[in-house]
């Protein structure tokens, strides 16, 4: 207990002596960890959006009006037997009509038009995939190909009874691309800042050791172990990076409340990250902060303590 007390006293006096530099190190750790957390939140948000979009509509297989009930059953079986397919739900012409009526309930002109022509809406299978990246398999199984007819791309399917297969590959690709660019960009900045944080903390430790070189010299002379000399500095680095981590976690909650919650009110059709999502990345930030301190400690004190 007494020893811990000694360590903490030495750490506190070190932080006080190194005030400005310690603050710089802390701020850098804060920015680095904040960006790191932000990258994780962005990743989480986009994974929510992707789950939402692709989870509700993946692949839709539209059917011709001439298909017989037995052929429909066979086709459903064929779709469900595909390794990429999790389920294939049948939507009849009537159901499609009802759905359209519901979707456009507040558009009377459209409804009037629809009443006489609901027949044009095709029946379909809504296919849920095990992995959204595997939609090409469905298209291939239905023997559909994109063909250029009179200057427009038209899909032609060889499988009897199949009109066309609509996939959401383009949307998915775009979402993934945005996710990766944002995530990579923020992570890249975060890593540069993490490096800077390590360097600055290592520097404060080194300055602290330099300021206390006489004390350290005496400690070595009277037989203090290297760990006894190092631990107060390690704690100092840890305190600096953990304070930075605490500030970063608070700042991420602020971003969530001030930015994301406002977007949530305005853009209601998308899912948004919740407090629990922010909370779940807090341990990762604390782990990163601890790593920063350990690396900074081993770099900062490597040369100084050769016996």
């Amino acid at each position: 207990m007494r020893r811990i007390d000694q360590y903490l006293k030495e750490t506190a006096s070190g932080l006080r002596r190194n005030g400005v530099v310690a603050f710089a190190a802390m701020s850098t750790a804060f920015i680095a960890l904040f960006l790191f957390g932000l990258a994780l939140i962005i990743a989480r948000e986009f994974s929510l959006i992707i789950t939402y979009t692709t989870g509700n509509v993946e692949v839709q297989v539209y059917l011709t009006d001439t298909i017989s009930p037995s052929a429909t059953t066979t086709l459903q079986q064929k779709l469900q037997d595909l390794p990429a397919v999790e389920s294939a739900a049948y939507v009849s012409k009537e159901a499609a009509c009802e759905q359209a009526q519901r979707l456009f309930a507040d558009n009377q002109a459209f409804l009037d038009n629809l009443k006489n022509n609901c027949d044009i809406l095709p029946a379909s299978f809504r296919v849920k995939l095990k992995d959204p990246a595997l939609f090409e398999q469905v298209k291939a199984a239905m023997a559909c190909q994109d063909q250029l007819q009179a200057g427009a791309t038209v899909q032609v399917c060889a499988e009897p009874g199949v009109l066309r297969v609509q996939d959401f590959s383009a949307l998915l690709k775009q979402l993934n691309a945005i996710t990766h660019v944002l995530q990579f960009g923020v992570l890249a900045i975060a890593f540069v800042m993490l490096g800077a944080a390590v360097a600055l903390i290592a520097n404060t430790l080194r300055m602290g050791m330099f300021a206390r070189r006489k004390e350290i010299g005496i400690m070595r002379l009277v037989g203090a172990t290297n760990w006894r000399i190092r631990i107060p500095f390690m704690i100092e680095g840890l305190v600096e990076s953990l304070l930075g981590a605490g500030a970063a976690i608070l700042a991420l909650f602020l971003v969530k409340i001030l930015v994301i919650d406002r977007l949530r009110d305005q853009i209601r059709f998308l899912p948004w990250v919740r407090n629990s999502d922010v909370l779940s990345i807090a341990p990762l930030i604390l782990i990163a902060a601890t790593l920063i301190a350990l690396i900074a400690g081993s770099i900062g004190m490597r040369r100084f303590l050769d016996v």
């Binding site: 007494r2 020893r3 000694q6 006489k214 004390e215 010299g217 005496i218 400690m219 070595r220 002379l221 009277v222 037989g223 203090a224 172990t225 290297n226 006894r228 000399i229 016996v307």
Partner: protein
């Protein structure tokens, strides 16, 4: 207690500070190491506390072959060796008591040991009434007494002193020598590097004279030259 066998020390810059030095020092001896600046006195002291490694030959201190002590065990060796320097090496922001207590604190001695031993040793060196003074408030001789107290508070087997009277006037030097003699009489082996002729002549102890890294004289009850 201390044994050097054919020890040569060559520094990285090619300077040979000691060459084929062999010395035996028994437990409880008081030994002066004399010689001009650059004769190798300080190198000898630094070898004994494992601040430097011998390039050739073996150094034994307190029964330990220094070259064979692993790095992490060096601190434990140093707990058996007290060291005193010309510049005292006191911490100016700590009181006399704290300076001495520091030596016990950093090797993990509990508070009750500090509270018992520190006033005891300060009393022994004649500073029982200066516990709460800062080093700046003391004379040079008193500061050196604090440093001797710090070196002895953990009851070392060996006391190494490198020019301990180098900054002191003759009268104060005599006082410091009396104190080192007192420390020696309670069984501590004392090795003192010096070029203070008057002191060596007055003490009539064993004298090892170095010249350009060689032992040119080893004489019991000797004089400086």
């Amino acid at each position: 207690m201390i044994s050097l066998q054919h020890v040569t020390k060559t520094y990285k810059n090619g300077v040979t500070a000691l060459e084929d030095v062999s010395v035996e020092i028994e437990k409880g001896e008081f030994v002066f190491v004399v010689g001009q600046s650059g004769s190798g006195k300080s190198t000898l002291i630094r070898l004994l506390m494992k601040e430097e490694e011998a390039s050739k030959g073996s150094v034994y201190v307190a029964g330990k072959h220094l070259a064979k002590i692993s790095t992490w065990k060096v601190p434990y060796l140093r707990r058996n060796i007290g060291t005193v320097f010309q510049d005292y090496k006191l911490l100016t922001d700590k009181t006399v008591f704290e300076n001495v207590a520091f030596a016990l604190e950093v090797i993990g001695k509990p508070k009750h040991v500090l509270d018992q031993r520190v006033p005891e040793i300060l009393d022994y060196v004649g500073l029982g009434d200066k516990l709460n003074n800062f080093p700046d408030e003391l004379s040079g001789g008193e500061q050196q007494r604090v440093s001797i107290a710090r070196a002895c508070v953990n009851r070392p087997l060996v006391l190494l002193a490198d020019e301990p009277t180098g900054n002191l006037d003759p009268n104060t030097s005599v006082d410091i020598m009396r104190l080192l003699d007192k420390v020696n009489r309670i069984g501590t082996t004392v090795v003192m590097a010096t070029h203070d002729q008057a002191i060596v002549d007055a003490m009539r102890k064993r004298v090892i004279e170095l010249d350009k890294g060689h032992v040119i004289r080893d004489q019991s009850r000797g004089v400086y030259a």
